[in-house]
């Protein structure tokens, strides 16, 4: 028999209240009930990072979080990074550097990169690589992605993200 709970959390700054099976993953509820489709399901095992969202300011795989565990949390997806109608520096730099090929991994990449710059606005090359090591790009576009994050870091300190 289907079980349902009401789960409350903040999504991209707005409070949401959603009735859903409590053992569903946060990713399932985001995509299928709330129609927030930035986070993607690829591996469903925590290996690819396509489902990465911020949970209380830290990147996590939303495929490995029960929606029940998001109760009271602040969740941010790539849709929530824009501010006053403007893309955040990471999103802008990805566009400018052509860091996107098929685009499937990019919402997760952008979340991981933004999480890095929030904690460390002046990352080294290796720190960027480590921060993105949980996000796989099968178009093998890492070089431009890392260049884009370096460019975003230069701007991060000048803009209030």
């Amino acid at each position: 028999m289907r079980v349902e709970h009401i789960i409350n959390f903040k999504l991209n700054g707005n409070p949401v209240s959603v009735k859903c099976p409590p053992a569903y993953t946060l990713l399932e509820v985001l995509r299928e009930q709330l129609h927030v489709t930035g986070p993607k399901e690829d591996c469903a095992k925590g290996e690819c990072g396509a489902c990465t969202v911020l949970m209380n300011s830290r990147p996590v795989c939303s495929c490995l979080v029960l929606v029940s565990q998001a109760e009271g949390a602040e969740i941010v997806t790539s849709e929530g990074l824009m501010k006053n109608g403007r893309l955040n520096p990471v999103q802008e730099a990805f566009l400018e550097e052509g860091a996107v090929q098929c685009g499937h991994c990019i919402p997760g990449m952008i979340i991981s990169a933004s999480a890095l710059l929030m904690r460390n606005p002046n990352p080294t090359f290796d720190e960027i690589r480590i921060a993105l090591s949980g996000n796989l790009c099968r178009c093998t576009g890492y070089t431009k992605i890392i260049t884009a994050v370096q460019k975003a870091a230069e701007r991060w300190n000048h803009q209030s993200p």
């Binding site: 409590p22 925590g46 949970m55 565990q69």
Partner: protein, 289 residues
């Protein structure tokens, strides 16, 4: 059981959780960070009618020092371990292991209690806990039990935790500046890789002549549980450690390995890796990187 049919209970306090486990133990499967349990549920490897979500139990998320013991709560995440000054100073090999588990996303949610409870022979926090002679503390409504980590694992993916218990914390003697310890992992890539073989070593009780009175060597992913390489340990104590004596001691470790062949490597390859990784871990511990 469909995921939509699974009940999730999220207790707010430890006492409430222990009461639920006391009453309802047969039906409850504990979930903390979820990185193992959620995948196993989806893949049908485990069945559960009810999940006990212990993640809200903030009283189990801590890292603190009491006297010379370092205490790590079951809900401490790998990120907590990586970022804690206490673990960096007093359990640096555990920090090295935590940095090599999954990637940032996993380190932010996966917990040390989950790694203990999941009891995989490739659990990367486990060899460090073996060489630290860690004590695992379990808790039930009727009280606490202290279980040495070596007795905690009773077989492949089997622990000594009773159905009415949960894992409360793990504690061990702090490493000091005279101690030497290291952790080396061989995976098929640097991030999000399950260990093919991993090794932890600790050398403690440094004597005036530079030798050590205490040695621990633990091997991961080469047997149903983590294994201590006892003859290797015996060959390391009360003896001047040179490249030659380390190499000789390392050669004994493979006696304790009974690896399987799987997608990550053949048994023969793993046996060869054991000798190399023990040598590498000991060299790093004694001579630095």
């Amino acid at each position: 059981m469909m995921l939509s049919e699974i009940q999730v209970i999220s207790p707010r306090t430890l006492n409430e959780a222990l009461e639920l486990l006391h009453r309802d133990q047969a039906e409850l499967k504990i979930v903390a960070g979820g990185s193992d349990v959620i995948v196993q549920l989806r893949d049908g490897i485990i069945q559960a009618g009810k999940l006990l979500n212990v993640l809200p139990l903030k009283e189990l998320r801590f890292i603190r020092k009491a006297g010379n013991r370092l205490h790590i709560g079951a809900l401490a995440t790998y990120s907590d371990i990586i970022e804690s000054e206490l673990t960096c100073r007093h359990a640096w090999l555990l920090v090295n292991a935590a940095k090599q588990i999954g990637a940032v996303q996993l380190q932010n949610t996966a917990t040390i209690g989950g790694n203990l409870g999941n009891a995989s022979p490739a659990g990367d926090s486990l060899p460090p806990l073996y060489v630290l002679d860690a004590m695992v503390v379990t808790r039930s409504k009727s009280g606490r039990r202290k279980i040495p980590v070596e007795d905690f694992f009773v077989g492949y993916r089997k622990t000594a935790v009773r159905p009415d218990e949960l894992i409360e914390e793990v504690h061990f003697d702090c490493l000091n500046e005279k101690d030497r310890a290291s952790y080396v992992k061989f995976g098929l890539r640097d991030a999000n890789a399950i260990s093919v073989v991993d090794v932890a070593v600790a050398l403690r009780g440094r004597m005036d002549d530079g030798s050590f009175s205490f040695a621990r060597v633990a091997l991961g992913a080469v047997a149903p549980t983590i294994r201590r390489a006892r003859r290797c340990e015996e060959a390391l104590v009360h003896r001047t450690l040179t490249d030659e004596t380390i190499r000789q001691s390392s050669s004994f470790a493979v006696e304790e390995a009974s690896p399987i062949t799987d997608i990550r490597g053949s048994a023969e390859y793993r046996r060869n890796l054991v000798t190399s990784l023990v040598y590498e871990a000991l060299s790093e511990a004694v001579f630095g990187k």
